[in-house]
């Protein structure tokens, strides 16, 4: 067990090291891709946190959008700096999450999935409808840059990348701690058997709310990072096809373990870039991948890890991996 822990720590440190030198070895275009990759990691991991309770939503990208709009509005109209607007965007999206979770809680499983779509589209329509302050269908432009802080100009790709990397690591650390804590266990127990969980004193409604609101916060942070990099946002960026990509990441990677969605975003980002020449075929291609995974590997790529570990004779670690509930198969299909 201890050996397993040491290996994990070494792995994480190595990964951070690679992520820290990578931008110096690639073209600027790929640094931009890496920034978006990190933002998507926050999005996918926070999405999985909500899914550990068994609640699969279709509005997580909308919540990221709410964070993007909130941060952009605060920066543009109040002139507040990014390091203020980003956490405030997270807090705003918490409130949005609290507002929409109430009707959502009255549903479970597939009902929850569909209701969250309706609620999300309602929010997106309000961005399109209200020219003031959201800018209507064209959205918002001239969102202030993060700007120059001390000697560093965050307009440049590499500084922005490192800022995003640092924020991502902090977010992942907090999300990981939640996942491993008593609270994270309570989330998973609801997915396992909500009636049993409630009967031993876990307030299922409160914990589902809690998971949803925490997930909303991090979606909001991801949105703020996105808005200030793109400089312009519009309702289309947060449309349903983005949400489908998010589902693909989480299902391809697997939702049972913390690492699953990260693996999913990484693999799919690579595929996405490789298939850039085949632009019009991409939806078909991704559809096939999604169906293929749901049918042949419902646990996602992460479900391969225990198999590898077993190959090396480390049965204990494999069991520990298998301990987590696998979300994808049951709720989405």
């Amino acid at each position: 067990m201890l050996k397993h822990k040491v290996l994990s720590i070494i792995g994480v440190v190595a990964l951070i090291a690679v992520m820290s030198i990578l931008p110096f070895f690639v073209r600027e275009y790929y640094v931009e891709i890496l920034i978006i990759f990190l933002i998507n990691v926050i999005l996918a991991v926070s999405y999985r946190l909500i899914a550990t309770t068994g609640d699969w939503t279709l509005c997580h990208v909308i919540l990221m959008g709410a964070g993007a709009y909130a941060s952009a509005l605060m920066a543009k109209y109040f002139g507040w700096p990014f390091f203020m607007t980003a956490p405030l965007a997270g807090a705003t999206v918490c409130l949005v999450g609290l507002g929409i979770v109430y009707p959502l809680l009255r549903t479970v499983g597939f009902g929850f999935f569909i209701t969250s779509l309706a609620v999300g589209e309602f929010i997106r329509l309000s961005w399109i409808k209200f020219h003031i302050p959201f800018g209507g269908p064209r959205g918002m432009i001239d969102i202030p840059e993060v700007g120059i802080i001390g000697p560093i100009d965050f307009y440049e790709a590499i500084p922005y990348y490192f800022m995003t990397l640092a924020i991502t690591l902090v977010c992942l650390f907090i999300l990981y701690r939640i996942d491993r804590s008593r609270i994270g266990k309570a989330f998973k127990s609801i997915y396992e058997d909500d009636i049993l969980a409630e009967s031993i004193g876990i307030n299922v409604g409160r914990y589902r709310t809690f998971a949803f609101v925490i997930g909303s916060f991090f979606a909001g942070i991801a949105g703020a990072l996105l808005a200030h990099r793109l400089g312009a946002i519009d309702p289309h960026i947060f449309a349903l096809d983005e949400m489908v990509y998010l589902l693909v990441w989480v299902i391809v990677g697997g939702s049972a373990t913390f690492a699953g969605p990260i693996i999913g975003v990484a693999v799919m980002t690579l595929l996405f870039e490789w298939t850039r020449p085949l632009l019009e075929w991409r939806p078909l291609f991704f559809g096939i991948i999604l169906i293929g995974f749901l049918i042949f590997m419902p646990g996602g790529l992460e479900s391969l890890i225990p198999k590898f570990t077993r190959l090396f004779g480390n049965r204990k670690a494999a069991q520990a991996k298998a301990e987590q509930p696998g979300g994808a198969e049951k709720s989405v299909v």
Partner: protein, 258 residues
């Protein structure tokens, strides 16, 4: 005054009166048997008491306070916890995690302290307590096993361990020895007695195994078609002609007990 009291309780499912005009009084420290033929309304009674269903009519009072209308989790918080007739477990958790998650009510601490692990002392305390309960239920050797992989008898024991971990004062057991062989049954019967004696709990026991019921219950209530048919000491129940007629189809109860 009785510790636990049910007054003119009714529960209808559409046209079906699963429970009608039921009165029940249970004293502190008692093991109360609740028996009756299949479909008599025993599990429904547990579900209504625990807030899974709202009663159609009637009152449920625990320690003099009304609990009907509360959520299951609130009722558990007050000290009323049940086990399930089906084998309800967190199947993909280890045995230890099953019990730990049920320590939830006792393990509270602020959000940030919980997440950033400054609550180590509470964690260690909870784990110790969980291990003690696992040991009490005879599952020590299996603590790292997935609940799903346990043999049936041990799964039933784990179900009770999970309930115990939430530290109830009134524990309701729904057919705890179902599907167990005679040795396991005997062992479990002993454990139920021990729970009352050593852990100071009051127990409501639903069970079809008459030997178990007659062996450990202080008093027995008999349900039939949602109504109370009889109530009394085990000996009185065994001799009650209504019970023999309704519950056992007229067979000789004493012979059945072997």
């Amino acid at each position: 005054m009785a510790m636990f009291e049910v007054r003119s309780l009714c529960k209808n499912f559409g046209g079906l009166a699963a429970i009608s005009q039921l009165n029940l009084e249970v004293d502190e420290g008692e093991i109360r048997g609740v028996i009756g033929p299949n479909g008599a309304g025993k599990t429904t009674l547990f579900n209504v008491i625990c807030g899974v269903y709202k009663p159609t009519k009637g009152k449920i009072a625990y320690q003099g306070k009304e609990i009907s209308g509360l959520k299951s989790s609130q009722i558990a918080e007050r000290g009323v916890v049940r086990t399930f007739q089906r084998t309800a477990l967190f199947h993909h958790f280890t045995v230890l995690d099953n019990v730990l998650v049920a320590r939830h009510l006792q393990a509270r601490g602020g959000f940030f302290r919980t997440i950033f692990g400054t609550n180590r002392r509470i964690d260690i305390e909870q784990e110790k307590k969980a291990l003690e309960i696992i040991d009490f239920m005879g599952l020590s050797d299996l603590k790292d096993e997935l609940a799903d992989n346990l043999p049936h008898g041990h799964q039933r024991a784990l179900g009770i361990a999970v309930a115990l971990a939430s530290e109830p004062k009134l524990l309701m057991l729904d057919e705890p020895v179902t599907g167990m062989d005679p040795t396991e049954t005997q062992h479990m019967t002993g454990l139920i007695k021990k729970i009352r004696d050593e852990r100071a709990m009051t127990i409501l026991l639903v069970e079809h195994d008459m030997k178990v019921v007659m062996g450990i219950c202080d008093k027995i209530s008999v349900l039939n078609f949602g109504k109370k048919l009889a109530e009394g000491l085990p000996k009185q129940i065994l001799e009650n002609p209504d019970v023999i007629e309704a519950y056992l189809g007229g067979e000789d109860v004493v012979a059945l007990l072997g």
